[in-house]
């Protein structure tokens, strides 16, 4: 009897447990092997850039929370920094320190989701709950700072909304002490697991040249062996004052992308510890005009967010509302090679590769 073989199309998402939200990939499968992949983003598009055109400069801040909602502090930071540059505002030193502290906390919070989600994408749900246990404490700290846990809107043009509350510094120090132990726990539960390593090592390899060609950034780029971290190569804010390493991995596989984030969390802990130790006194807001009206012109600034380089481009026509705002969203650009990366791998690896890229749909679809 003649056996007929044919490929079939599997529509993965937008409703799927491990596409990290509403991402959709149309997979053409030969058995379980991917022949062709067609990523279809856009299910969470809200038109934030367009909405920003009808808001005043300050009113845009809450919209940036909804970009990478896992690290909303960093998104705020990227936006307010652009406006400050456009207006030439000098941010007080204490505000810069606070920004670094909450920014790095947000980076840890975001990497914790990536770490835990990687474990749960591979079927180990317990890792997910362990990382969320610690993320919860960071969110508690955020709640102390600004009353909001996820969508912070804490930063303002010219500083931060209010000073750190009483008791924040000791609580943060206590958290950092505990968190160092937690990192060892993740390495025991997830990183060191034989099955986890077999599932991730040498899977979805991304070469350094390709990563640079597609202008990928963040942990995805650094796992391929390119040591490009804006905090080091083009420092902004007060990062030159802190001593920290930029972790680097060279294989560019899923394991390196995962493990790099664990290493980065340890570096973030160092930065926060230094910032807490040398936190200066002073105002947290610069003297800014009541109505923010930047001069006509355009500006582009970048920060190193948890997912990569987050760029903000603003065109001002001199009115209180931006003429055009554009966000360079690292999650979206990091997806560039997805179709090529998953080709030839199994369905289960698609989930691992997507998880290791660590996308946030709020940012991908903007």
């Amino acid at each position: 009897m003649a056996v007929r073989q044919e490929e079939f199309v599997l529509n993965m998402g937008p409703q799927h447990p491990s596409t990290h939200g509403v991402f959709r990939i149309v997979l053409t499968l030969d058995g379980e092997t991917v022949v062709k992949a067609d990523p279809v983003p856009g299910y969470l598009h809200r038109g934030i850039e367009k909405l920003a055109e009808a808001r005043t400069y300050t009113q845009v801040i809450p919209y940036t929370d909804r970009l990478d909602y896992l690290a909303s502090m960093l998104m705020n930071w990227g936006y307010v920094q652009a406006v400050e540059k456009l207006m030439g505002i000098e941010v007080p030193l204490r505000a810069e320190y606070i920004r670094v502290i909450v920014g790095e906390l947000a980076r840890i919070a975001s990497h914790l989701v990536a770490t835990g989600a990687m474990a749960s994408d591979l079927g180990g749900l317990t890792g997910f709950l362990y990382t969320f246990r610690d993320r919860e404490e960071i969110l508690d700290l955020f709640e102390m700072v600004c009353g909001s846990r996820l969508t912070a809107s804490y930063m303002r043009i010219g500083g931060v909304a209010k000073d750190l509350p009483e008791g924040f510094v000791p609580k943060a120090k206590e958290f950092l002490k505990k968190f160092t132990l937690s990192l060892a726990e993740y390495n025991g539960l997830i990183t060191g697991n034989e099955i986890f390593q077999r599932r991730t090592k040498n899977v979805g390899i991304l070469s350094a040249e390709k990563a640079v060609d597609m202008s990928l950034s963040g942990p995805v780029l650094r796992a391929s062996g390119v040591g490009h971290d804006l905090r080091k190569v083009r420092p902004y804010s007060i990062y030159p004052q802190f001593e920290f390493e930029v972790p680097l991995r060279t294989n560019g596989d899923c394991f390196d992308r995962y493990y790099l984030r664990v290493l980065e969390m340890a570096e973030s802990v160092k930065i926060i510890e230094q910032a807490l130790a040398s936190l200066p006194e002073g105002p947290v807001m610069a003297k800014i005009p009541r109505i923010i009206k930047p001069p006509a012109g355009e500006v582009y600034t970048e920060i190193e967010s948890s997912k990569g380089i987050m760029g903000v481009y603003i065109v001002s026509d001199g009115s209180p509302k931006p003429y055009r705002v554009h966000f360079r969203r690292p999650s979206f650009i990091n997806l560039g090679y997805l179709a090529e990366m998953v080709r030839g791998w199994k369905v289960a690896d698609v989930v691992a590769i997507l998880g290791s890229l660590d996308i946030v749909l709020g940012e991908v679809d903007c």
Binding site: G124, L125, K346, A348
Partner: protein, 347 residues
């Protein structure tokens, strides 16, 4: 007194039937029906309890509390869940093969039910004391492959189809090491009767004589029950829920509960083959044999749950490679060594 509570109550029933002069064939039939009803009750209550236990164990491992709202300590949670599922609509996909789709959840309980008939729950407490016990277990256990494949194929859903293909590949491959690991024990005892195997362990449990076989059995049993790290069939983060994706209401509940019946089953077999069944450890016979049996089974179940909530999932090709390149050769080597040992020392 406690030791014989079940046996003597059955004897009392037999005497009662003799006293009312029930015809012998009818009386035998009634006894058998009572025995099987007891087994059915045992499985269903245990399946409900195991769902609760799994949720509590996973909560314990993950630093949570687990169900604690419905009933004392949340004990009625799963009962209520099942009651809710009964009241739900059974949705049949338009493109599904309707007959097979409905038949699969009905059939899923048949293999575990049939196997429990031969399980010795305590001294003299097997519903049917079958001479070919182990063989019967292997034969019946492999049937569930067909039923899950039925579910996967008839759903006419791509995820279900992928899960169905996985179930055939996985369960057929892992039956090999499972059976081969049992052969080591059978060589030692020279019997396929489960009571015989238990009695042969009076001096020393087979886990100490057959550690390799026991390890292979435990790994293969994890794969047979489709639990992490071998839960590729359901593989929630990849293929949603595999063959069970399209099932709702009671159909879903049946598959869900059957998984736990199967966990209980492989734990029962592990206890029987390697941990001395209902024999009391250290001669602690002050507790009845059926207590020891259940106690050991639950320790096994706990180990299975512990593994499930710790490990991630293995990949399809790695799964097959592991079965055929590692477990099967190891099991064959174990059979060879066992045979050699028996020839040298026991004859």
């Amino acid at each position: 007194m406690l030791e014989n509570i079940f046996v003597s109550s059955l004897n009392w029933l037999k005497n009662l039937m003799a006293a009312v002069e029930l015809p012998a064939p009818l009386a035998d039939m009634l006894i058998l029906v009572i025995k099987l009803a007891a087994i059915l009750g045992f499985i269903l209550i245990n399946a409900l309890w195991l769902v609760y236990m799994e949720r509590k164990v996973s909560a314990f491992i993950q630093g949570r509390i687990g169900p604690n709202r419905v009933g004392p300590f949340g004990l009625l949670q799963t009962t209520m869940d099942v009651l809710k599922l009964i009241s739900k609509e059974i949705i049949i996909p338009a493109a599904a093969d309707k007959k097979l789709f409905l038949l699969a959840p009905l059939m899923i309980f048949v293999p575990p039910l049939a196997i429990f008939a031969i399980v010795p729950f305590g001294k003299g407490m097997a519903a049917i004391d079958l001479n070919l016990g182990v063989y019967y277990f292997v034969a019946m256990a492999s049937l569930s492959t067909v039923i899950i494949w039925m579910a996967g194929w008839s759903s006419n859903n791509k995820y279900a189809l992928l899960g169905g293909m996985r179930v055939v590949a996985q369960m057929v491959s892992y039956e090999m090491p499972l059976i081969l690991s049992m052969i080591g024990v059978i060589i030692l005892t020279g019997t396929l009767n489960m009571n015989g195997i238990i009695q042969a362990q009076e001096k020393v449990w087979f886990i100490f004589l057959q550690p390799v076989a026991a390890t292979i059995y435990l790994i293969a049993a994890l794969a047979e029950t489709n639990r992490t790290p071998f839960d590729l069939v359901e593989g929630e983060s990849e293929i949603i829920s595999g063959p069970f994706t399209e099932y709702s209401g009671m159909g879903f509940a049946f598959f869900f509960l059957a998984e736990y019946a199967n966990v209980l089953l492989v734990s029962v077999m592990a206890t029987t083959l390697f941990f001395g069944g209902w024999l009391a450890p250290f001669g602690w016979t002050f507790l009845p044999s059926w207590f020891w049996f259940i106690f050991k089974v639950y320790i096994m179940v706990f180990i299975f749950m512990w593994v499930r909530w710790t490990f991630p999932r293995i990949r399809v090709d790695q799964l097959m490679g592991f079965a055929w390149k590692v477990l099967v050769p190891l099991a064959i080597a174990n059979i060879f060594l066992t045979g050699l040992g028996k020839y040298l020392f026991l004859s």
